[in-house]
Symmetry: C2
Amino acid sequence: MKVTVDAVVFSYHENELKVLLIKRAFEPFLDMFALAGGFLLDDESAEDGVLRKLKEETNVELDYLEQLYTFTDVERDPRERIISITYYGLIDPVKHDLVSNIHAKEVKWFPAYGVNYIPLAFDHKNIYDYALERLRNKLQYEPIGFELLSQHFTMNELWSLYNAILGRELDIRNFSRKILSYGLLNESTFKQEGGVGRPSKMYEFNKEKYDELKKTGLNFEL
Amino acid sequence: MKVTVDAVVFSYHENELKVLLIKRAFEPFLDMFALAGGFLLDDESAEDGVLRKLKEETNVELDYLEQLYTFTDVERDPRERIISITYYGLIDPVKHDLVSNIHAKEVKWFPAYGVNYIPLAFDHKNIYDYALERLRNKLQYEPIGFELLSQHFTMNELWSLYNAILGRELDIRNFSRKILSYGLLNESTFKQEGGVGRPSKMYEFNKEKYDELKKTGLNFEL
DNA sequence: TCAAAAGTGTTCCGAATACACCCATGA
DNA sequence: TCATGGGTGTATTCGGAACACTTTTGA
């Protein structure tokens, strides 16, 4: 039985959630857009396989990777029986530059909410939907939003990201208070540059603190 | 690459959460306890494969089945590269009778909290831990507790089940109010039999109502 | 009529929400 | 000094937690 790995990679830039798609350079589904991915090798774990394929096909390196689901429908691949172990990944926007290569005809960020209008190869639409739902849920009870921002960010940027992904307008004052109350953010020495009005404080996510709190049973919410 | 499916099957009887294990009849790990499972066939989905293997090895038929995680460590099987798609299942206690067969030397329910003291084959201990954690989490935000009870049950039985799985004593009055507030339980025409004191009302889970409410965005909690 | 367990009502507290005002900065 | 966006404080509301009493049944 053959096994592939596929990844739904999200990024947040231009005030929008984006997803990484490639235009297929081979049959089946030649020239159609699809998730990055490919066959898993015998000497690598699925995680390693995903990272390898992403590097090959898109040149991105992830900051966060989580297994999503394994799709096993008998008919999901027109060639033969192939199951797919799927992942979703998050990436720092400063790393979002893409590099063309022989594995794909095109590599591109698509607005996440426009993907519905693009036909995708295989059952990749299902996988994408599943990933988006998972991202939305997870965002609300795990501090993963930071993975989609640069190391130093303003509260407003974090808030905009939450609004964009959750699709509703949160009260920024309550949001800010809540986020800060977990003590997971350090004030950064960076200063916001440009823009009118009072410059915002910048923060950075304190991963060590998070790992420490997780042991004692932190429950992050909203 | 070979692919197996493995299942962590939970049941609740004798006021205890139990897990289904089999004693292996073949190498490797001959005579060791392990999860039910086996190789996935080319013409079946993973779900179908799990149900087939469970039927073969233990004769149980599940009321609830959910994919857990796919384990892909290169070294997880001493024979060769084998990945495992794992599931957890829940079963109505009236169906908990087990049947011996040629696929396993023994088929047995173990108290869930005693599994730590039993060496398990392969990486099945990891899988089991993962399943228990998932069950605990899921119990608190999806109405799956009913799947572990008979069709007709008392509020006290449901409450005991929650206490046993979550490992803490909930306030039964608040618990009862909360559960009933979702309107997912129908009062059953059954009457509790035997026992001292005032007989309890019996309820049954209304799955149709649940499916209906889920569409309009129910969020069950605790 | 008594014991045992089921069932209902009420108070209290804290967190979530909604909302208004003050502050810092650059032009 | 003024416009712009950042930051803080507070009243209100709602749900969760804690807790005590009444009801129903079988013996």
